[in-house]
């Protein structure tokens, strides 16, 4: 099944907003969207249509979204995303605490809604399948110019020779690769590698990065891939062309 074939049920008492959200979803490719305007109608359609995702408002004319959420979850483990005008931290925490997959506050950007809906659907229905497998394969190797880094073998292969990565170097590279293109702070790196705060690891981290650069960079003194964000952390440069899709 395609991601965009997923059945989405929208429960919101505001007709105009429902129409707008349906349009936004349709424009992004989600063709199977139905609307309900009360708790009763919502539960009825939930049972009939068995959607993959429910977008649920909290304040409904005949009850609140939290109770409806509980009733729906009693029937099926469907992904549910709250969409509410209630922006109190307490409501947000309560909603997420109930086990909701996400909580979006109104007003929202269309793109944000699309991204979150897509993320929830992918996470719930598409990761254990083929797509996840592809991701895993993608993750297992990394191509930087002529160098191939294998995460499973903890090695870097270039020019016919293979250099192995130490456990710490591998952990650092993995963390950077998980957040490729983004700055990973010293603190996040230390937490991932040593499970500890940055204080006391400043030099150790620097030494590991230097060793890592020697292995993955053509010119370690002027790195192309493993970049320093001064005072903040390190970043593994994103270069879609250089990535090998296996």
């Amino acid at each position: 099944m395609n991601l965009y074939d997923s059945k989405i049920l929208l429960v919101d008492d505001n007709y105009e907003l429902s129409a707008m959200i349906r349009n936004i979803l349709r424009r992004s490719g989600y063709s199977n969207v139905s609307c309900a305007f009360s708790c009763e109608e919502g539960l009825q359609k939930f049972c009939q249509e068995e959607p993959q995702l429910v977008i649920l408002d909290i304040m409904l004319p005949d009850g609140d979204g939290f109770s409806l959420f509980r009733k729906m979850r009693e029937k099926a483990e469907t992904s549910i995303l709250f969409l509410s005008a209630k922006d109190e931290d307490n409501d947000r925490l309560f909603g997420l605490g109930l086990g909701a997959d996400d909580y979006i506050t109104k007003p929202f950007l269309s793109q944000e809604l699309i991204l979150r809906v897509g993320a929830v659907l992918k996470r719930t229905y598409f990761i254990p399948g083929k797509a996840a497998q592809t991701d895993a394969e993608e993750e297992q190797s990394l191509h930087l110019d002529g160098r191939v880094i294998s995460f499973s073998n903890a090695s870097v292969t270039y020019g016919g020779k293979t250099v192995s990565l130490t456990a710490k170097e591998l952990q650092i590279l993995k963390k950077l690769n998980e957040n490729r293109g983004k700055i990973v702070t010293f603190d996040a790196l230390c937490m991932a590698v040593w499970g500890d705060a940055y204080y006391g690891y400043e030099n150790t981290l620097m030494v590991h990065i230097r060793h890592l650069r020697k292995k993955i960079e053509e010119n370690p003194s002027s790195p192309k891939w493993l970049l320093t964000a001064r005072g903040l952390g390190y970043r593994l440069r994103k270069d879609e062309d250089a990535r090998h899709r296996g």
Partner: protein, 469 residues
Amino acid sequence: MKSLAKIIRRYVASAGVLVLTVAFFNLAVLYLIGWQSVQRHGERRLHAGEEMEHVAAEFSTADQGTAEHAARYRLSEKGYAYLEEYHFLWSMLLDDGGNVVWSWRLPEELPRSYGLADVAKFSRWYLMDYPVRVWEMNGMLLVSGYGKEYAVKINLMYPLWQIQSFPRYLSIAVGMNVALFLVLALWFAYRFYRSLRPVCAGIDALAEKRPVLLPEKGMTGELANRLNQTSRILEKQDRKLRQRDDARTSWISGVSHDIRTPLALIMGYSEALAENPELGEEAHCQAEAVRQQSLLIRQLIEDLNLTSKLEYHAQPLRMTEYCPAVLLRETAAEYYNEGLDERYEITAEADPRTERIRQQGDIQLLKRALRNVIGNSIRHNPKGCRITLRISEEMGCVIWKLLDSGPGIPERVVDILAGRQADNGKEIHVMGLRIVRQIIAAHGGHADFLKKEAGGYGVELVLPVEGEL
């Protein structure tokens, strides 16, 4: 205990002053009475001996050859005048045989001759109820009598040991008086202190906004009653104020809630219009402007909601332990990871000492404060700028300095936030910075403005490592 010592000192001092004043007053009154009585009688009271001496001095022996006693002793006119003046009723002169040799107005009932026993009796007491004075004059006795109701005679005789031990008795009496006086002063002072104690506790409780209910008895009953009344009034006012604050906060929260759904529609449709390929360039620009403004309204609603909650302490703080240096790097990195425009550069400088500091705080709120300041720099420098975030540790506080290479915060905004200028709400929006101040204040610190060398202001946030500033 300090106040007890003070009260006792005061009590003893005032009791001392009281005693001295009363003693002085009594002496003064006695003196005045004596002086007035002298004035009324028109004479100076003479010593008994002096009166008789005056009279005796006026006697003369007129004729040595005369056998008649009466003729032999004569009193001058002045002598008679003395007798009158000294209020004597009668007078007589006895020879060594006890016979009257001279007399003046001697009453008929009085004998004309006296034995030793008679003399001994009247010289100490009365002569037939007349109080008399006796004066020895050349071997003879001058006896002068007052009216029967004129005077009282008192004879005093004390054993010598009694007189000798008088100073000792006197000092014991004085000592006991002083001791009694001190004990009484202490006792009253303690009683006063004891009765004041609940009142003081009540005033303390009022100052700390705690309800007060004191027993309305004893010396300070009325005072306690007033304090109880005041407490009730304050409590009522506090309740009303709280109700008003709650109403205001829930009103703002309600309004912001109600605006959200229509705003979601405006944003959604403006986005759809901005991306609609069938519309012209101008329509796209207009739709984009509507979208941008909607985003601004969304930000304002969130700010308004947060500022009102912070102002009335309705915003719960989710305190967790954090390291300021980590927060600094995280905040700066987030900007880059969100796709910071290349025109901007954020540098983060953490003093190595801050790496070890752990503070308590609501990280989301603190991040919000930092983002408000950084966001301001980005918004007000459309051509790009360099933003410096610096933290250091000074005297138990973490100091955050947030500066940009642009013109900085204008002086007017600083004046408005410092309350030196009124916010007319038309030209300048200071809500973002106000929220920064509120968030920092909620963490026990304070936000200041730093004058930059190139003009304008940067922001300095001071957060105590522990407790409050």
